[in-house]
């Protein structure tokens, strides 16, 4: 049994933490959130150079990591600093799918991603699909040498910055069948593809994507025809580890900000942390934070095991519950100051809570956990 990070991961963590604490200040980050693109190309490039993206791919794929603990190490730090750049979308989801399914030509895109030169987006969710991964109503029809895509994709994160969208579309089966979903690499400027872009509550940007008679060559297909669901499930499992770790990192920040504030803010002539009503609740946050850390450790450690999905459902459920508690209590114990946009905690709390809305909230993962435990 060994709960220490390997030397490489420890270095990665140290480097990333140092870089972000110097470079990714509250002011810098809030300016990024307010910018038109919602991300900093400069910081993205610098992080790529530091090897942060490479750490998320295996050696076979051209990286030097890619395991569960690499993901959790990187995303904990991103979460701690409240990073809004789309590592989840470009790297874990987009890059992950191409690395898993791509042929040689397609695989060259992974290199571009690792170098920091290419953004990607996963255009999978639809207006009615909520968190259900199999619900795909967008269609793909073969027409001569081409494939024609029709449909609507909802809340496609990072769509505007992406060079390619990975679009899921149905080639056979009903709206919920697991078979028949294919994935396509669609250039963002494909004719017939339109976007309505907007900022998101916790930073970054997304778009509603409409596919109206979008033609791509058959070579745009990623992986085998109709076999996209398994690949999506695998990559979303990795995304869930990333999201859980990110929320846990953000919870660390929220707790630390609260600790500092409780010790310095004075009312009634004394630091408010000396009021037991707050001190005990602060202790509860620390207790829950340790639970969250262990849940992430469990999920990351089981990424390649048979028990993967159950462990991940457990982690996301626990993180959703403790995350909400930490975010709400941290705000409450700060009082008014935490309600202001420019204060660090406001953003951190939003990152934590809004994690619920990606790939499932506490209830969704509880149901999955129950289902998988009964199986």
């Amino acid at each position: 049994m060994d709960f220490n990070l390997t030397e490489e991961r420890q270095m990665l963590q140290d480097t990333l933490r140092r870089f972000l604490s110097e470079r990714y200040t509250t002011t810098e980050r809030n300016a990024i959130i307010d910018s038109d693109t919602g991300l900093s190309a400069e910081i993205w490039g610098e992080l790529a150079e530091l090897g942060v993206i490479g750490a998320l791919f295996t050696e076979d794929q051209g990286g030097f990591g890619g395991a569960g603990y690499d993901i959790s190490t990187v995303f904990e730090e991103l979460g701690r600093a409240g990073v809004v750049e789309p590592f989840l979308d470009t790297v874990i989801l987009g890059g992950g799918l191409i690395a898993a399914l791509g042929n040689d030509t397609q695989h060259s895109l992974v290199e571009e991603v690792i170098g920091g030169g290419l953004h990607l987006a996963l255009a999978h969710g639809e207006p009615a699909s909520r968190y259900d991964l199999s619900r795909v109503e967008t269609t793909a029809k073969v027409d001569g040498d081409d494939i024609v895509l029709e449909g609507r994709k909802a809340v496609v994160i990072n769509a505007e910055a992406a060079g390619y969208l990975i679009v899921s579309a149905r080639e056979s089966g009903g709206p919920f069948s697991l078979d028949g979903i294919s994935l396509f690499l669609v250039p963002a400027d494909a004719s017939g593809l339109t976007m309505q872009g907007y900022p998101m509550m916790s930073g970054g940007r997304a778009a509603e994507v409409t596919l109206d008679n979008v033609r791509v060559p058959a070579s745009a297909r990623l992986g085998a025809e109709g076999a996209g669901f398994q690949a999506l499930t695998d990559v979303v499992a990795r995304a869930n580890v990333a999201l859980a770790a990110e929320a846990m990192g953000a919870m660390e920040s929220a707790t630390e900000l609260t600790r500092e504030y409780l010790m310095t803010r004075k009312q009634f002539g004394r630091p408010i942390g000396t009021f037991q009503a707050l001190a005990h609740r602060f202790s509860d946050l620390l207790i829950e934070l340790e639970q969250a850390r262990s849940a992430v450790t469990n999920a990351a450690g089981h990424l390649d095991s048979d028990d993967r999905d159950r462990q991940i459902a457990a982690a996301r459920n626990l993180i959703a519950r403790t995350g909400r508690l930490v975010a709400e209590e941290a705000i409450q114990m700060h009082g008014g100051i935490a309600m202001t946009q420019e204060y660090e905690l406001a953003h951190i709390a939003k990152r934590i809570v809004m994690t619920d809305h990606r790939f499932g909230d506490a209830d969704y993962h509880l149901e999955r956990f129950i289902g998988l435990s009964a199986a």
Partner: protein, 396 residues
């Protein structure tokens, strides 16, 4: 024991309902139902509609032109307004300042200010809190020094809600720095257009410019703007705080909010079934509803005592704590009900300018969830309320 309203109360309720059906503009209630803001003009319009009917002053005594409804009538009115998705009545002038002026103000102040509150001439904001004086309000530092027939005011107020719209601010200021904290405070009315006042907006975490910092730099305020006696302001403020706490449970808002969640849950689907049939979500909704049913009766019990002339004591603190917990829980349900469509940041949608992204009910829910964290912070935080309850009950 009888849980139902009397004949007269029912008739009154019907009268309120009819009025709301006829006079509450549809586009306004639609916006409120969707959680959008209606802006200064919207609030002024609704006030003028109520005023025309004589109902804007529903809590005021008859001698000041009020309707002088009793606690049960006030409750019915507030309940019906919330159920009809009427805008909240902006409380600063009507239910915070007016009672103080009516009890402690001079005849001149009453004659001058009260009608202007009703006809919308003056928009008031509340200048109590300061950066260093939140829960510990009595430690406030904004200074007022007598200079001939003026006070010269220096200092800073913070968190002044909708101060950007305000013509006037009622302030607690320190007039005697030597006295014991609570005994050196005065209650001053200040024209926001006086030279030396600067208002800086604070954007809240949901993106709304709802509160402000107000800076005072040698602001000259005529002495006739002092309410009551110098150094007695704390007494008046405490009196005002008891008024701030009527309707504090927010039962009507909670019920309307829960109805909205149910409506959404019928339209949203999870695993191909309506969300409202999802056992986990349904259980969460049921739990909140059960709490709300009980709290609603607690609220009525306290209201009927108040109508019988018993001033509520710690009960209003209890209602504040439980009421805000329930409202915040409903905001959480609303956010979760819409799934991924909670993610778009819909500040434009909140202001009502742009096309909504996703279903129109989804736009403001995440913003509301974050914004309503304020409910347990302001008006005496829930920790302060719990402290009051314990102190009163244990004589500490």
């Amino acid at each position: 024991m009888d849980l139902s309203y009397s004949e007269e109360e029912l008739a009154f309720r019907d009268e309120v309902r009819t009025f709301l059906e006829e006079k509450l503009p549809k586009d306004m209630s639609d916006k409120i139902r969707r959680g959008e803001h209606i802006g200064k003009e919207g609030h002024e319009l609704w006030h003028s509609i109520l005023n025309e009917k004589g109902w804007l002053s529903y809590g005021w005594p008859k001698e000041f032109g009020g309707a002088e409804w009793n606690a049960v009538q006030r409750h019915i009115f507030e309940d019906e307004c919330a159920a009809a998705y009427a805008p909240r009545i902006v409380p600063f002038g009507l239910s915070m300042l007016a009672p103080v002026l009516q009890k402690f103000g001079s005849k001149e102040q009453q004659d001058h200010y009260l009608p202007r509150i009703l006809d919308g001439t003056d928009w008031w904001c509340q200048g109590y809190s300061e950066p260093g004086a939140g829960s510990d309000l009595a430690s406030l530092k904004t200074r007022a020094v007598r200079d001939g027939d003026h006070y010269v005011v220096n200092g800073q107020k913070s968190w002044t809600t909708l101060g950007q719209y305000a013509d006037w601010i009622f302030c607690l200021v320190r007039t005697d720095p030597e006295a014991k904290q609570q005994e050196g405070i005065s209650f001053l009315l200040i024209d926001m257009n006086t030279p030396g006042i600067e208002v800086r907006p604070i954007v809240l975490l949901d993106g709304t410019p709802e509160v402000n910092e107000v800076f005072f730099d040698n602001v000259r305020v005529p002495v006739e703007n002092l309410v009551g006696e110098e150094n007695k302001g704390w007494t008046y403020a405490k009196y005002l705080l008891t008024h701030e706490r009527t309707g504090i449970a927010g039962v009507g808002f909670s019920r309307a909010g829960l109805d909205a969640v149910k409506r959404v849950a019928r339209q949203e689907s999870a695993n191909g079934r309506p969300l409202i049939e999802n056992p986990h979500f349904a259980a969460r909704m049921a739990q909140v509803e059960i709490d709300l049913m009980a709290m609603s009766t607690t609220n009525l019990r306290i209201i009927s005592q108040a109508a019988a002339g018993q001033a509520p004591g710690v009960e209003s603190s209890m209602l504040k704590v439980k009421g805000t917990i329930i409202r915040q829980e409903i905001n959480d349900l609303a956010r979760r009900a819409v799934g991924p469509y909670a993610m778009p940041f819909a500040s434009e949608a909140v202001e009502g300018d742009n096309d909504p992204i996703g279903p129109d009910y989804a736009g403001p829910v995440a913003a509301q969830y974050f914004n309503n964290r304020k409910l347990s912070i302001f008006g005496g935080s829930n920790e302060i309320q719990r402290g009051i309850i314990a102190k009163v009950k244990m004589g500490g």
